[in-house]
Symmetry: C2
Subunit: 218 residues, 2 copies
Protein backbone atom coordinates (compact mmCIF):
# COMPACT_ATOMS: atom_id res chain seq x y z
CA UNK A 1 0.00 0.00 0.00
CA UNK A 2 2.69 2.43 1.08
CA UNK A 3 4.88 1.49 -1.86
CA UNK A 4 2.08 2.03 -4.33
CA UNK A 5 1.37 5.49 -2.94
CA UNK A 6 5.05 6.45 -2.99
CA UNK A 7 5.44 5.23 -6.56
CA UNK A 8 2.45 7.34 -7.53
CA UNK A 9 3.95 10.45 -6.00
CA UNK A 10 7.30 9.87 -7.65
CA UNK A 11 5.75 9.30 -11.05
CA UNK A 12 3.76 12.53 -10.82
CA UNK A 13 6.98 14.28 -9.89
CA UNK A 14 8.86 12.65 -12.74
CA UNK A 15 6.19 13.79 -15.19
CA UNK A 16 6.43 17.38 -13.99
CA UNK A 17 10.25 17.18 -14.06
CA UNK A 18 10.12 16.16 -17.72
CA UNK A 19 7.98 19.24 -18.44
CA UNK A 20 10.43 21.51 -16.59
CA UNK A 21 13.37 19.97 -18.44
CA UNK A 22 11.63 20.55 -21.76
CA UNK A 23 10.98 24.19 -20.83
CA UNK A 24 14.63 24.74 -19.93
CA UNK A 25 15.77 23.10 -23.15
CA UNK A 26 13.38 25.07 -25.38
CA UNK A 27 14.66 28.30 -23.88
CA UNK A 28 18.33 27.34 -23.90
CA UNK A 29 18.58 27.60 -20.13
CA UNK A 30 21.07 25.45 -18.20
CA UNK A 31 19.58 24.53 -14.82
CA UNK A 32 21.33 23.37 -11.67
CA UNK A 33 19.89 21.98 -8.44
CA UNK A 34 22.10 23.08 -5.53
CA UNK A 35 21.89 20.72 -2.57
CA UNK A 36 23.53 20.25 0.82
CA UNK A 37 23.02 20.31 4.57
CA UNK A 38 21.72 23.32 6.43
CA UNK A 39 24.74 25.55 6.90
CA UNK A 40 26.88 23.98 4.17
CA UNK A 41 27.02 27.46 2.67
CA UNK A 42 24.80 27.05 -0.39
CA UNK A 43 23.54 30.65 -0.35
CA UNK A 44 26.95 32.19 0.31
CA UNK A 45 28.49 30.12 -2.50
CA UNK A 46 25.65 31.32 -4.72
CA UNK A 47 26.23 34.96 -3.78
CA UNK A 48 29.90 34.73 -4.71
CA UNK A 49 29.05 32.85 -7.90
CA UNK A 50 26.57 35.54 -8.94
CA UNK A 51 29.24 38.17 -8.31
CA UNK A 52 31.71 36.28 -10.48
CA UNK A 53 29.26 35.63 -13.33
CA UNK A 54 27.92 39.19 -13.35
CA UNK A 55 27.90 40.57 -16.90
CA UNK A 56 28.87 37.18 -18.35
CA UNK A 57 25.94 34.87 -17.66
CA UNK A 58 22.30 35.91 -17.38
CA UNK A 59 21.01 33.97 -14.41
CA UNK A 60 17.98 33.72 -12.17
CA UNK A 61 17.46 31.96 -8.86
CA UNK A 62 14.73 29.85 -7.26
CA UNK A 63 15.17 29.72 -3.49
CA UNK A 64 13.69 26.75 -1.66
CA UNK A 65 13.10 27.07 2.07
CA UNK A 66 10.74 25.54 4.55
CA UNK A 67 9.37 28.76 6.01
CA UNK A 68 11.43 31.92 5.59
CA UNK A 69 12.45 34.08 2.65
CA UNK A 70 15.78 35.05 4.23
CA UNK A 71 17.81 33.56 1.38
CA UNK A 72 15.71 35.14 -1.38
CA UNK A 73 16.18 38.54 0.26
CA UNK A 74 19.94 37.96 0.29
CA UNK A 75 19.93 37.10 -3.43
CA UNK A 76 17.67 40.01 -4.41
CA UNK A 77 20.41 42.45 -3.42
CA UNK A 78 22.49 41.17 -6.34
CA UNK A 79 19.90 42.42 -8.81
CA UNK A 80 19.07 39.00 -10.28
CA UNK A 81 15.50 37.73 -10.70
CA UNK A 82 14.60 35.50 -7.76
CA UNK A 83 11.53 33.52 -6.74
CA UNK A 84 11.01 32.08 -3.27
CA UNK A 85 9.35 28.71 -2.74
CA UNK A 86 8.26 27.96 0.82
CA UNK A 87 7.56 24.28 1.20
CA UNK A 88 5.55 24.87 4.40
CA UNK A 89 7.20 22.03 6.25
CA UNK A 90 8.29 19.71 3.44
CA UNK A 91 11.95 18.76 3.53
CA UNK A 92 12.65 19.08 -0.21
CA UNK A 93 11.50 20.85 -3.36
CA UNK A 94 9.51 18.93 -5.93
CA UNK A 95 9.08 19.48 -9.66
CA UNK A 96 5.59 20.92 -9.28
CA UNK A 97 6.77 23.66 -6.91
CA UNK A 98 9.57 24.50 -9.34
CA UNK A 99 7.12 24.52 -12.27
CA UNK A 100 5.00 27.10 -10.43
CA UNK A 101 8.04 29.32 -9.82
CA UNK A 102 9.25 28.94 -13.42
CA UNK A 103 6.04 30.48 -14.75
CA UNK A 104 7.07 33.78 -13.13
CA UNK A 105 10.33 34.15 -15.08
CA UNK A 106 11.01 35.27 -18.63
CA UNK A 107 13.13 32.25 -19.54
CA UNK A 108 13.97 33.55 -23.02
CA UNK A 109 16.29 36.14 -21.50
CA UNK A 110 18.19 33.68 -19.29
CA UNK A 111 21.25 31.43 -19.65
CA UNK A 112 21.27 29.80 -16.22
CA UNK A 113 18.69 28.89 -13.59
CA UNK A 114 20.00 28.08 -10.12
CA UNK A 115 17.59 26.19 -7.89
CA UNK A 116 18.74 26.24 -4.29
CA UNK A 117 17.06 23.35 -2.53
CA UNK A 118 16.01 23.05 1.13
CA UNK A 119 18.96 22.40 3.45
CA UNK A 120 18.97 18.63 3.65
CA UNK A 121 21.54 16.05 2.62
CA UNK A 122 19.00 13.27 2.17
CA UNK A 123 15.51 13.87 0.80
CA UNK A 124 16.03 16.45 -2.00
CA UNK A 125 18.26 14.03 -3.94
CA UNK A 126 15.36 11.72 -4.66
CA UNK A 127 13.26 14.36 -6.40
CA UNK A 128 14.14 15.27 -9.97
CA UNK A 129 13.26 18.92 -10.57
CA UNK A 130 14.06 18.85 -14.29
CA UNK A 131 17.55 20.27 -13.76
CA UNK A 132 20.49 19.49 -16.05
CA UNK A 133 22.89 18.96 -13.20
CA UNK A 134 22.77 18.30 -9.48
CA UNK A 135 25.49 20.12 -7.53
CA UNK A 136 26.47 19.15 -3.97
CA UNK A 137 27.74 21.66 -1.43
CA UNK A 138 29.55 20.14 1.55
CA UNK A 139 31.18 22.20 4.26
CA UNK A 140 34.46 20.63 5.33
CA UNK A 141 33.38 21.37 8.93
CA UNK A 142 30.72 18.67 8.50
CA UNK A 143 33.43 16.01 8.70
CA UNK A 144 35.13 13.68 6.24
CA UNK A 145 32.75 10.75 6.89
CA UNK A 146 29.76 12.41 5.26
CA UNK A 147 30.02 11.15 1.65
CA UNK A 148 30.05 7.51 2.79
CA UNK A 149 27.14 8.14 5.17
CA UNK A 150 25.03 10.05 2.64
CA UNK A 151 26.30 8.68 -0.69
CA UNK A 152 23.29 9.32 -2.93
CA UNK A 153 23.86 13.07 -3.34
CA UNK A 154 27.49 12.49 -4.30
CA UNK A 155 26.59 9.67 -6.68
CA UNK A 156 24.04 11.85 -8.48
CA UNK A 157 25.94 15.14 -8.61
CA UNK A 158 28.13 16.44 -11.43
CA UNK A 159 30.24 18.49 -9.05
CA UNK A 160 30.79 18.90 -5.34
CA UNK A 161 31.82 22.18 -3.80
CA UNK A 162 33.88 21.63 -0.65
CA UNK A 163 33.18 24.86 1.18
CA UNK A 164 34.74 26.63 4.21
CA UNK A 165 38.24 25.56 3.15
CA UNK A 166 39.57 28.63 4.98
CA UNK A 167 38.97 26.92 8.32
CA UNK A 168 40.24 23.46 7.31
CA UNK A 169 43.25 23.81 9.65
CA UNK A 170 40.95 24.27 12.64
CA UNK A 171 39.18 20.95 12.01
CA UNK A 172 40.29 17.31 12.19
CA UNK A 173 39.19 16.67 8.60
CA UNK A 174 41.33 14.39 6.44
CA UNK A 175 40.97 16.20 3.12
CA UNK A 176 42.70 13.54 1.04
CA UNK A 177 40.53 10.82 2.59
CA UNK A 178 37.45 12.92 1.91
CA UNK A 179 38.40 13.42 -1.74
CA UNK A 180 39.12 9.70 -2.07
CA UNK A 181 35.74 8.69 -0.61
CA UNK A 182 33.90 11.06 -2.94
CA UNK A 183 35.69 9.57 -5.95
CA UNK A 184 34.95 6.02 -4.79
CA UNK A 185 31.24 6.92 -4.78
CA UNK A 186 31.44 8.81 -8.07
CA UNK A 187 34.67 8.64 -10.11
CA UNK A 188 33.43 11.27 -12.56
CA UNK A 189 32.46 13.97 -10.08
CA UNK A 190 34.36 17.25 -10.21
CA UNK A 191 35.59 18.47 -6.81
CA UNK A 192 36.06 22.20 -6.13
CA UNK A 193 37.82 23.40 -2.98
CA UNK A 194 36.24 26.70 -2.11
CA UNK A 195 35.84 29.27 0.61
CA UNK A 196 32.75 31.33 -0.10
CA UNK A 197 33.83 33.68 2.70
CA UNK A 198 37.28 34.49 1.32
CA UNK A 199 36.38 33.86 -2.33
CA UNK A 200 39.08 31.18 -2.67
CA UNK A 201 38.31 28.73 -5.51
CA UNK A 202 35.08 30.43 -6.60
CA UNK A 203 36.70 31.27 -9.96
CA UNK A 204 37.40 27.62 -10.83
CA UNK A 205 33.89 26.51 -9.92
CA UNK A 206 32.28 29.46 -11.74
CA UNK A 207 34.39 28.89 -14.86
CA UNK A 208 33.42 25.22 -14.93
CA UNK A 209 29.77 26.26 -14.58
CA UNK A 210 30.16 28.85 -17.35
CA UNK A 211 31.51 26.14 -19.68
CA UNK A 212 28.42 24.02 -18.97
CA UNK A 213 26.17 27.02 -19.66
CA UNK A 214 27.96 27.75 -22.95
CA UNK A 215 27.44 24.13 -24.06
CA UNK A 216 23.68 24.70 -23.81
CA UNK A 217 22.46 25.63 -27.29
CA UNK A 218 20.44 28.85 -27.30
CA UNK B 1 -5.89 11.05 -0.37
CA UNK B 2 -2.34 12.03 0.46
CA UNK B 3 -3.42 13.62 3.72
CA UNK B 4 -5.34 10.53 4.76
CA UNK B 5 -2.38 8.28 4.04
CA UNK B 6 0.03 10.55 5.92
CA UNK B 7 -2.30 10.69 8.92
CA UNK B 8 -2.41 6.93 8.89
CA UNK B 9 1.35 6.63 8.94
CA UNK B 10 1.71 9.16 11.74
CA UNK B 11 -0.90 7.42 13.85
CA UNK B 12 0.81 4.06 13.48
CA UNK B 13 4.05 5.76 14.53
CA UNK B 14 2.35 7.46 17.47
CA UNK B 15 0.96 4.13 18.65
CA UNK B 16 4.40 2.50 18.56
CA UNK B 17 5.92 5.55 20.27
CA UNK B 18 3.45 5.17 23.15
CA UNK B 19 4.57 1.54 23.53
CA UNK B 20 8.24 2.55 23.56
CA UNK B 21 7.53 5.29 26.12
CA UNK B 22 5.73 2.79 28.35
CA UNK B 23 8.68 0.40 28.10
CA UNK B 24 11.15 3.13 29.09
CA UNK B 25 8.94 4.17 32.02
CA UNK B 26 8.42 0.64 33.32
CA UNK B 27 12.17 0.11 33.37
CA UNK B 28 13.06 3.53 34.79
CA UNK B 29 15.04 4.47 31.71
CA UNK B 30 15.33 8.12 30.64
CA UNK B 31 15.44 8.34 26.85
CA UNK B 32 16.72 11.14 24.63
CA UNK B 33 16.44 11.61 20.88
CA UNK B 34 19.57 13.38 19.61
CA UNK B 35 18.96 15.31 16.41
CA UNK B 36 20.84 17.67 14.11
CA UNK B 37 22.31 18.15 10.66
CA UNK B 38 24.90 15.83 9.19
CA UNK B 39 28.19 17.00 10.68
CA UNK B 40 26.71 18.93 13.60
CA UNK B 41 28.81 16.65 15.79
CA UNK B 42 26.15 14.41 17.34
CA UNK B 43 28.40 11.34 17.59
CA UNK B 44 31.41 13.27 18.91
CA UNK B 45 29.23 14.98 21.54
CA UNK B 46 27.91 11.54 22.45
CA UNK B 47 31.42 10.09 22.77
CA UNK B 48 32.47 12.86 25.16
CA UNK B 49 29.21 12.52 27.09
CA UNK B 50 29.73 8.76 27.51
CA UNK B 51 33.25 9.46 28.79
CA UNK B 52 31.92 11.96 31.33
CA UNK B 53 29.06 9.75 32.52
CA UNK B 54 31.22 6.62 32.79
CA UNK B 55 30.71 4.93 36.17
CA UNK B 56 27.86 7.31 37.06
CA UNK B 57 25.07 6.56 34.60
CA UNK B 58 24.38 3.18 32.97
CA UNK B 59 23.60 4.03 29.38
CA UNK B 60 23.05 2.39 26.02
CA UNK B 61 22.92 3.80 22.52
CA UNK B 62 20.78 3.31 19.43
CA UNK B 63 22.54 4.63 16.34
CA UNK B 64 20.40 5.67 13.39
CA UNK B 65 22.04 5.91 9.99
CA UNK B 66 20.92 5.56 6.43
CA UNK B 67 23.46 2.96 5.33
CA UNK B 68 26.65 2.63 7.37
CA UNK B 69 27.47 1.46 10.87
CA UNK B 70 30.40 3.87 11.23
CA UNK B 71 28.88 5.63 14.24
CA UNK B 72 27.95 2.41 16.05
CA UNK B 73 31.53 1.18 15.66
CA UNK B 74 32.77 4.45 17.19
CA UNK B 75 30.44 4.05 20.18
CA UNK B 76 31.26 0.35 20.70
CA UNK B 77 34.81 1.31 21.64
CA UNK B 78 33.46 2.95 24.78
CA UNK B 79 32.17 -0.38 26.05
CA UNK B 80 28.50 0.60 26.14
CA UNK B 81 25.72 -1.51 24.61
CA UNK B 82 24.89 -0.20 21.14
CA UNK B 83 22.44 -1.19 18.42
CA UNK B 84 22.63 0.09 14.85
CA UNK B 85 19.51 0.89 12.85
CA UNK B 86 20.03 1.33 9.12
CA UNK B 87 17.02 3.03 7.60
CA UNK B 88 17.99 1.88 4.08
CA UNK B 89 17.33 5.28 2.54
CA UNK B 90 14.79 6.79 4.91
CA UNK B 91 15.72 10.21 6.26
CA UNK B 92 14.62 9.66 9.86
CA UNK B 93 14.09 6.99 12.48
CA UNK B 94 10.57 5.93 13.36
CA UNK B 95 9.14 4.39 16.50
CA UNK B 96 8.87 0.93 14.96
CA UNK B 97 12.57 0.82 14.09
CA UNK B 98 13.40 1.90 17.64
CA UNK B 99 11.02 -0.71 19.06
CA UNK B 100 12.91 -3.41 17.14
CA UNK B 101 16.25 -2.20 18.50
CA UNK B 102 14.91 -1.92 22.06
CA UNK B 103 14.08 -5.62 22.14
CA UNK B 104 17.82 -6.36 21.98
CA UNK B 105 18.71 -4.51 25.21
CA UNK B 106 18.29 -5.51 28.85
CA UNK B 107 16.49 -2.32 29.87
CA UNK B 108 16.31 -3.27 33.56
CA UNK B 109 20.05 -2.61 33.90
CA UNK B 110 19.96 0.84 32.25
CA UNK B 111 19.41 4.43 33.39
CA UNK B 112 19.68 6.24 30.07
CA UNK B 113 18.98 5.40 26.42
CA UNK B 114 20.48 7.73 23.83
CA UNK B 115 18.93 7.49 20.38
CA UNK B 116 21.09 9.24 17.79
CA UNK B 117 18.86 10.05 14.85
CA UNK B 118 19.79 10.28 11.15
CA UNK B 119 21.63 13.51 10.31
CA UNK B 120 18.79 15.76 9.23
CA UNK B 121 17.47 19.03 10.67
CA UNK B 122 13.98 18.55 9.26
CA UNK B 123 12.30 15.15 9.02
CA UNK B 124 13.28 13.39 12.28
CA UNK B 125 11.54 16.05 14.38
CA UNK B 126 8.13 14.97 13.15
CA UNK B 127 8.47 11.39 14.34
CA UNK B 128 7.98 10.68 18.04
CA UNK B 129 10.15 7.72 19.03
CA UNK B 130 8.81 7.48 22.57
CA UNK B 131 11.71 9.49 24.02
CA UNK B 132 11.40 11.68 27.13
CA UNK B 133 13.31 14.54 25.61
CA UNK B 134 14.40 15.72 22.20
CA UNK B 135 17.89 17.26 22.15
CA UNK B 136 19.15 19.45 19.30
CA UNK B 137 22.79 19.59 18.27
CA UNK B 138 23.74 22.60 16.14
CA UNK B 139 27.28 23.30 15.02
CA UNK B 140 28.00 27.02 15.18
CA UNK B 141 29.68 26.62 11.78
CA UNK B 142 26.20 26.02 10.30
CA UNK B 143 25.44 29.73 10.71
CA UNK B 144 23.28 31.82 13.02
CA UNK B 145 20.24 31.82 10.70
CA UNK B 146 19.48 28.12 11.16
CA UNK B 147 17.02 28.22 14.11
CA UNK B 148 14.71 30.63 12.28
CA UNK B 149 14.97 28.57 9.07
CA UNK B 150 14.36 25.22 10.76
CA UNK B 151 12.38 26.21 13.88
CA UNK B 152 10.56 22.96 14.63
CA UNK B 153 13.55 21.11 16.13
CA UNK B 154 14.29 24.04 18.44
CA UNK B 155 10.64 24.40 19.43
CA UNK B 156 10.39 20.72 20.36
CA UNK B 157 13.73 20.24 22.10
CA UNK B 158 14.46 20.50 25.82
CA UNK B 159 18.05 21.52 25.20
CA UNK B 160 20.26 22.61 22.35
CA UNK B 161 23.97 21.87 22.25
CA UNK B 162 25.86 24.56 20.33
CA UNK B 163 28.86 22.57 19.20
CA UNK B 164 32.27 23.48 17.70
CA UNK B 165 32.54 26.57 19.92
CA UNK B 166 36.34 26.25 19.66
CA UNK B 167 36.21 27.59 16.10
CA UNK B 168 33.64 30.36 16.72
CA UNK B 169 36.28 33.05 16.12
CA UNK B 170 36.93 31.69 12.63
CA UNK B 171 33.30 32.11 11.59
CA UNK B 172 31.03 35.13 11.07
CA UNK B 173 28.47 33.79 13.52
CA UNK B 174 26.69 36.26 15.80
CA UNK B 175 26.47 34.12 18.95
CA UNK B 176 24.25 36.52 20.87
CA UNK B 177 21.86 36.79 17.93
CA UNK B 178 21.82 33.00 17.63
CA UNK B 179 21.01 32.57 21.33
CA UNK B 180 18.29 35.21 21.06
CA UNK B 181 16.65 33.54 18.04
CA UNK B 182 16.64 30.16 19.80
CA UNK B 183 14.94 31.70 22.83
CA UNK B 184 12.35 33.46 20.66
CA UNK B 185 11.40 30.07 19.21
CA UNK B 186 11.52 28.33 22.59
CA UNK B 187 11.90 30.44 25.74
CA UNK B 188 12.30 27.36 27.95
CA UNK B 189 15.08 25.64 26.02
CA UNK B 190 18.41 25.17 27.76
CA UNK B 191 21.42 26.22 25.65
CA UNK B 192 24.83 24.59 26.16
CA UNK B 193 27.94 26.01 24.52
CA UNK B 194 30.18 23.08 23.84
CA UNK B 195 33.21 21.92 21.92
CA UNK B 196 33.13 18.16 21.65
CA UNK B 197 36.66 18.31 20.28
CA UNK B 198 38.24 20.17 23.21
CA UNK B 199 35.72 18.96 25.79
CA UNK B 200 34.69 22.53 26.65
CA UNK B 201 31.18 22.68 28.19
CA UNK B 202 30.58 18.92 28.09
CA UNK B 203 30.47 18.87 31.92
CA UNK B 204 27.56 21.33 32.11
CA UNK B 205 25.53 19.48 29.50
CA UNK B 206 26.30 16.07 31.04
CA UNK B 207 25.42 17.27 34.55
CA UNK B 208 22.10 18.64 33.29
CA UNK B 209 21.43 15.30 31.61
CA UNK B 210 22.39 13.40 34.79
CA UNK B 211 19.86 15.46 36.77
CA UNK B 212 17.14 14.47 34.27
CA UNK B 213 18.17 10.82 34.57
CA UNK B 214 18.07 10.97 38.38
CA UNK B 215 14.55 12.41 38.25
CA UNK B 216 13.42 9.24 36.49
CA UNK B 217 12.06 6.91 39.15
CA UNK B 218 13.62 3.45 39.02
Amino acid sequence: MEIKVNTGILSANEQKAVENRKLFKENGVFAINLMGSPGAGKTTVLEKTIDYLSGKVRLAVIEGDIYTSKDARRIEKYGVPVEQINTGGACHLDAKMVSGALSKFDLTGLDLMVIENVGNLVCPVEFDLGEDQKIAVLSITEGDDKPMKYPLLFRESGAVILNKMDILDFTDVDLEGLRKDIHIINPDIKIFEVSARTGQGIDQWAEWLTDRVKDTVK
